[in-house]
Symmetry: C2
Subunit: 213 residues, 2 copies
């Protein structure tokens, strides 16, 4: 398999964690988002949305959207499982993952921040406040769930890492990069620290990728 990738893309980071947890090797194809390489014609042919990650299978088929890719990997390489076996548990884990992937991350994506700056002319301070606002709003709700729900364990759901942790760790890394104060989120911080102690999360970390700067 090949993964169109960028060390700092948190959606790509999610897929890297999933691949590492399942012990699947892949070729790392770097698309430098910082230099706008996702808009090059050759990558546009790979990904009409100009987004990484894209997972290219050995038969040439290409999969997009990080959560869809991870569910595909979990269906075709079931061990270790990234979702619980019971439907209520699966709904819980998917909803935790989506509370990051649908409620926090898209609003703070690079292209959105660029629109704020370049088209709307907001200041650097306003841009930073925007970023922090959506992380704090999302993390407040997520912390309430993780702290209050009985199925939270060492990880978001029980004691084995899964789809929710795969979304959580890259989002916490982004929050730290933008110096968001995480003191109000002890459960998030605890789970993030535990996951980052695991080898698969370390292998997938931005600073350990070949295009890391």
């Amino acid at each position: 398999m090949k993964l169109y990738n960028y060390f700092r893309s948190s959606a790509a980071y999610r897929v890297r964690i999933a691949l590492a947890l399942k012990g699947l090797p892949y070729d790392y194809l770097s698309v430098h988002l910082g230099k706008g390489r996702q808009y090059d014609a050759d990558f546009g042919a790979v990904s009409p949305q100009n987004l990484v990650p894209v997972l290219e299978l050995d038969d040439g088929q290409r999969l997009v959207q990080s959560l869809a890719i991870i569910e595909y990997l979990d269906e075709t390489r079931p061990q270790p499982a990234l979702l619980p076996s019971d439907p209520i548990g699966r709904a819980r884990v998917r909803s935790l993952a989506q509370s990051i992937a649908c409620e926090i991350h898209p609003i703070n994506n690079l292209r959105v921040l660029n629109y704020l700056t370049k088209t709307l002319g907001v200041s650097d301070d306003q841009r930073l406040a925007w970023y922090r606002h959506w992380v704090l709003t999302g993390f407040q709700a997520l912390e309430a769930r993780l702290a209050g729900e009985s199925r939270t364990g060492t990880c978001c759901h029980g004691d084995e890492p899964g789809l929710a942790d795969i979304c959580l760790v890259p989002q916490v890394a982004n929050a730290r990069r933008f110096a968001v104060d995480l003191d109000a989120f002890p459960t998030i911080v605890r789970i993030d620290a535990h996951c980052r102690s695991l080898l698969a999360f370390q292998q997938a970390a931005p600073e350990n990728q070949p295009d890391s700067e």
Copy 2:
């Protein structure tokens, strides 16, 4: 079952379509987003994220996040199926759904538009341009996929409505409400028209809900 709902919420609209396709009855509990009722304390106890939809099961358990709710319904009430049976097909349908639910909708959500206006002080014209920009960006990529991929049929994937159509129709409704020009998206327009001709989509439509204005 009970669905915390709002006629104009496109995430709630998705779940209403899924419930209607599967013929599942439910109680409609209106949370008036236009009046900010999602921030009332009693609803905050139901949904820490202050978001609709919330599906309350007969045993009192509550599920959040529209895509997670729909996958739960599909796992527990399998007919008619909202996802294909093959993993590659499932990945395709999930990625189409997520290209709307993770790339378009969150950036144009009411709370984001309110932040633009109230905190950043952008004009009504700038707010409208923002809205249209993200719909057009997302629909260009989606149209390219739907028009170019062989598994597109009368619906997004084959000839039976599923998870991708469930996300598409509410997003097209929103685009029309903001007068986005859809001429460049003939495949999207065709699939939307077909789906809206089906009874389940009509039952779920905003204008047919009890709290519609």
